[in-house]
Amino acid sequence: MSTSTPVRSDAEHDAGSPRVRRQLVASLVQRQGAAAVLVVVVIIAWLSLPSFGTAENLRDIALQSSFLAVIALGMTFVIITGGIDLSVGSVYALGGVVAAWASQYGLLAAIALPVLLCGAIGFINGVLVSRAGLPPFIVTLATLLFARGLLLAITDEGSTTFTIKDQAVINLGSSSFLGLGIPVWIALVLFGIGGIILRRTRFGEAVFATGGAEGSAVLMGLPVRRVKLTVYVMSGALAGFAGVLTAAYLQSGVTVIGVGTELDAIAAVVIGGTLLTGGAGTLIGTIVGVLLRNVIGNIINQIGGLDSNIQSVISGAFLLVVVVAQRLLARSRSETE
C-alpha cells in the first residue's frame, strides 16, 4: 500500500528542511542555553580571578554542588510531570538529622532509615497529589511544615544535635576517589541512572506524557497516578539521601540546614531548561543549573568584600539575567503566537 500511495511534495517536512532545522537548533539552544551561559561565566572567572581555576576550588564547587544536585534530580522528575515539590528543603534537613541519629547503628541504617522515612513523606505527597487530586504546590507546602515540625520533635525542639561517630558514615561524606569527593561520584551515578530512566524507559516516557498533557495520557492508558506517586516518592527519597550525604559530610545532623533549599532546587531545574508547566526537561540541564548557582556564589566570594545584602541583590539579578538570556536565545518565531 505504501508504494501505491501518491507521495506529496513533502520538502517541508524533511528533517533537512530549514523549518525543521530551525526547530532543532532552537531546541538545542533552549536545552543548552544555560550551559552556554555557564561556559561563558566560567571562562571569565578563570581569566579574571586567580584562585578560581585552582583544582582545589573546582573540586570544592563540585562537592558543594553534589548535595543540591541530588535534590534537584528528584525535583526534575516531579517538575516534568507538571508538579512541584516544596517539601524537599525540610525533608533534606530531616534526612540529615535521622541519618546522624541512625549512624550509631552503622552505615546501612544511616542510609536506609532516612531514605525510607523521607520516601514515606514523598509517598504522602504522592498520594495526596495523585489520588486526592490536590494541587502539588499546596500539598508539598504542607509537608514542608510537617517535615520541619517532625524534625523539631525528634530533636527536642531543635535542642539536641546528633553527631556522627561512625567512621564509615563519615567516609561517605568526606573521603575522595580519583580526586573527587564521594558525594560527587554518587551524584554522578544517580544522574546516570536517572538519565536512563527518563530517556530510555517506558516509565520515563510516561513521566513526560503526564506532564505534557495529563488528560491525554490518561486516555492513552498510561498509569498517570502511579507515575505521579512514584516521582514524589523519588523526590522525597532523594532529598532524604542528599540529607544523608550532607550529614556524613558535616559529621552531624544539623537542624538549621535546608531552609529555602526547595527554591534553590527549583531555580536550578528551571534554569536548566525544564518547563515548570511540565512535559519537557533534561537532567543535564539540571546539573548545569546547579553548577551555575554554585559557580556564581563562588565568584561572588572571590570578588570578596561585598556587603551581604548586595550579594543577594547580585544573585537575584543574576538568576534573572540567566533566565532572560536563555529565554531570548530560545525564542523561536512560533512562540510569538
Binding site: 500511495t5 525543521v20 524507559t201 510516561a206 486516555l219 518565531r333 510569538t336
Partner: protein, 526 residues
C-alpha cells in the same frame, strides 16, 4: 447466538443535573462496523467514555465477550482489547510522533526503550496510512488533520478486538478519509468490531453495516444501515418527522440566496501573503457578501493563511487590506478592531475557555461593546447571549453552564456565537462545521448564508468537499503554501477541486477510493 463483542445494558450516566445516558442498551457484533449517531450532545462520546473506563456508570453494566467488566480507567480497557480514538485529539504535543504512537507500549530491548526500532516502526505505520512525517518531530507541530492520522496509527497499531473511533474524520481530507476507510475495511476483514461515530452521513453509509441512533441520551433505534433511508435516519436523530426534515433541508447550504455584487469594492484583499516556513505566497480576495472557500490538502497551509490574515502568525510578506485600508501584520487586536474575526480549527486548545460559562465564552471577544467604562453590562450581555443561544440552538442547562461540560458540537456553536457577537466584517471560518451534527450544520450553513447576505465576507475552510462545492461563491485552492488556482461559482465541482489538488499528477477522489479498496483487499492481515 453468537457471542457479542461488547454489550451495554441499562446504562445510565449523570453529570450533575444532566442525564447524558438514560437506560441505554447497545450491542456490538463481532466483525461489525457499527455506526453511532445522534445530535450534538446526544451522548455518543459519553457512551464511548463509559465503555472505555473514562467515566463510571451510575447504573447498568458493560459486558465484554459476555463477561461483565468495569474498567476503572482507560488503561484497563486497553488491556482488555479495546482501542479508542477519542473525539478531541488526545496526544502529547511535546513528544515525538513516534513516541505518541507507541506511548505506553514502547518496544524494549533489555528493558530499555528501543528508540531506533520505535521510530522505524512508527514510520512504517504512518507510511501505511500515506502520511510522511519525520517521526521525531513533536506531534504538536503537526496540523490537526495530521494529528488525527497519528491518533489513527496509534489506535490501529495495537492488537485489539474492538476499535472505537469518535469522529475520526472531522479534520481529514478526502484522501485521508479514503485511507481511513481502507483501514476500517482491513480491520473488518480481520474480524475486529468497530464503533464509528461521525456526523458525515456519507461516510456512515460507505463503511458501516449497523447503526444505533441516540437522542437525548436515549437509544431510539438500532438496526442494519444499508436499507435505512437517509431522511429517516436524520428524522430519528432530530426527533422530527420526515416531512419536516425534508422541508428544512437537513444537509447542505441552501440555494444561493444571496447575490454577490461583482462590482463592489473588495472587502478583504490579502495579497501575496508570506509567513516564513508556513505559507509562501497566498492571495485571497473577498467581496462584501461573498463566501470564498479555501481548499487544499492536509498541510497545504489553509489554517496558516487564515491565521496570518488575522495576525496570529507573523506576516513576512504581502499585505492585508480591509476595505482598502491596510491592516498591520502580527497584531490580532488590530485586525479584530478592523473587523476581522477567526474561528480557529482546534476548539480545544485555541477556542474554548473551558471553565468559564457559556455566557462569558460568547461575550469574551466582544467585551468592549458589551461593557461601558470597563464595567460589564449584564443586560446587554444577556440579550446577546440569549439571542445567540437560541439562534444556534445551543443545548445546555443554561448560559451559566461551563463550556467544558458541553458536547463537542455545542462547544463549536458557542465559539461561532462568540465571533458573531463581535459583528465582524470578515469572518475567517476554519472548519466551522467540524464535529457538529447534520441539523446544526444546516443551521450553521444557513447562518453563514444569512451573514453573507447582510454583507459579511466569509472565508470558509473546510475539509468536507461537499461544503466547499455548495457553499462558496468562489474557491481558492492552495498547494504547498501557495494559492495555485481560483474557481468561480460555476466552475466549482468536486472534480475540479480534486483535480487542482492533483495538479502534480495526483489521482482523483474516485481513484483514491478505488485504490484503497484494492490495497485493502490485497493487504495481508498482520
Amino acid at each position: 447466538m453468537t457471542q457479542q463483542a461488547l454489550q451495554m445494558h441499562g446504562a445510565t450516566k449523570r453529570f450533575g443535573g444532566t442525564l447524558a445516558l438514560d437506560d441505554v442498551t447497545f450491542e456490538l457484533q463481532p466483525g461489525s462496523v457499527h455506526a453511532l449517531i445522534g445530535e450534538n450532545g446526544a451522548g455518543k462520546s459519553t457512551l464511548i467514555k463509559v465503555l472505555t473506563g473514562v467515566y463510571q456508570l451510575d447504573e447498568g453494566e458493560v459486558r465484554l465477550r459476555g463477561e461483565p467488566v468495569a474498567f476503572a480507567n482507560p488503561a484497563e480497557a486497553q488491556r482488555a482489547g479495546i482501542s479508542t480514538i477519542y473525539q478531541e485529539v488526545n496526544l502529547i504535543p511535546l513528544r515525538s510522533v513516534a513516541a505518541n504512537i507507541f506511548m505506553g507500549r514502547e518496544p524494549t530491548r533489555f528493558g530499555l526503550v528501543d528508540k531506533r526500532r520505535m521510530e522505524r516502526e512508527a514510520a512504517e505505520h504512518l507510511d501505511r496510512l500515506g502520511i510522511e512525517v519525520d517521526v521525531r518531530r513533536p506531534v504538536g507541530s503537526l496540523g490537526l488533520g495530521a494529528q488525527q492520522m497519528v491518533a489513527l496509527a496509534r489506535a490501529v497499531s495495537t492488537a485489539a478486538d474492538v476499535v472505537i473511533m469518535d469522529e475520526p474524520t472531522s479534520s481529514l481530507e478526502p484522501r485521508e478519509v479514503a485511507t481511513l476507510f481502507s483501514v476500517i475495511e482491513r480491520l473488518h476483514q480481520q474480524g475486529i468490531a468497530i464503533i464509528y461515530v461521525s456526523h458525515r452521513l456519507d461516510e456512515l453509509y460507505a463503511v458501516c453495516d449497523t447503526v444505533t441512533v441516540l437522542r437525548d441520551g436515549r437509544r431510539v433505534h438500532t438496526g442494519p444501515l444499508a436499507d435505512l433511508p437517509r431522511l429517516e435516519l436524520v428524522s430519528m436523530m432530530l426527533g422530527r418527522d420526515v416531512g419536516e426534515v425534508r422541508a428544512h433541508g437537513a444537509t447542505t447550504f441552501g440555494e444561493r440566496a444571496h447575490e454577490v455584487d461583482e462590482s463592489a469594492p473588495l472587502l478583504l484583499e490579502a495579497d501575496h501573503l508570506r509567513s516564513r516556513g508556513r505559507i509562501e505566497d497566498v492571495t485571497v480576495q473577498i467581496r462584501p457578501g461573498e463566501i470564498v472557500g479555501l481548499a487544499g490538502l492536509l498541510g497545504s497551509g489553509r489554517s496558516e493563511t487564515a491565521r496570518t490574515i488575522l495576525g496570529a502568525l507573523p506576516r513576512d510578506g504581502g499585505e492585508v487590506l480591509l476595505a482598502g485600508k491596510a491592516v498591520p501584520g502580527g497584531n490580532i487586536a488590530a485586525s479584530m478592531r478592523a473587523g476581522i474575526s477567526m474561528l480557529a480549527e482546534d476548539r480545544k486548545t485555541d477556542g474554548i475557555i473551558p471553565h468559564l460559562s457559556i455566557r462569558d465564552n460568547i461575550c469574551l471577544a466582544a467585551l468592549p461593546t458589551l461593557s461601558s467604562a470597563g464595567l460589564v453590562n449584564r443586560d446587554k450581555q444577556d440579550a446577546v447571549v440569549r439571542d445567540l443561544m437560541e439562534r444556534l440552538r445551543i443545548k445546555a442547562s443554561g448560559p451559566d453552564q461551563k463550556v467544558v461540560e458541553l458536547s463537542g458540537g455545542n462547544q463549536q456553536k458557542v465559539l461561532l456565537a462568540r465571533w458573531l457577537a463581535t459583528h465582524p466584517k470578515v469572518l475567517l471560518l476554519d472548519e466551522p462545521t467540524r464535529g457538529i451534527d447534520v441539523g446544526a450544520k444546516a443551521e450553521v450553513q444557513a447562518l453563514i448564508e444569512e451573514l453573507a447576505r447582510d454583507g459579511l465576507g466569509v472565508l470558509l475552510i473546510s475539509s468536507e468537499l461537499e461544503e466547499l462545492v455548495d457553499g462558496p461563491d468562489r474557491v481558492v485552492v492552495l498547494r504547498d503554501g501557495r494559492s495555485v488556482l481560483e474557481l468561480d461559482e460555476e466552475e466549482v465541482t468536486a472534480e475540479r477541486i480534486l483535480g487542482a489538488y492533483a495538479a502534480a499528477g495526483e489521482p482523483t477522489f474516485e481513484e483514491i477510493i478505488e485504490e484503497a479498496a484494492v490495497a485493502s483487499d490485497t493487504e495481508e492481515p498482520r
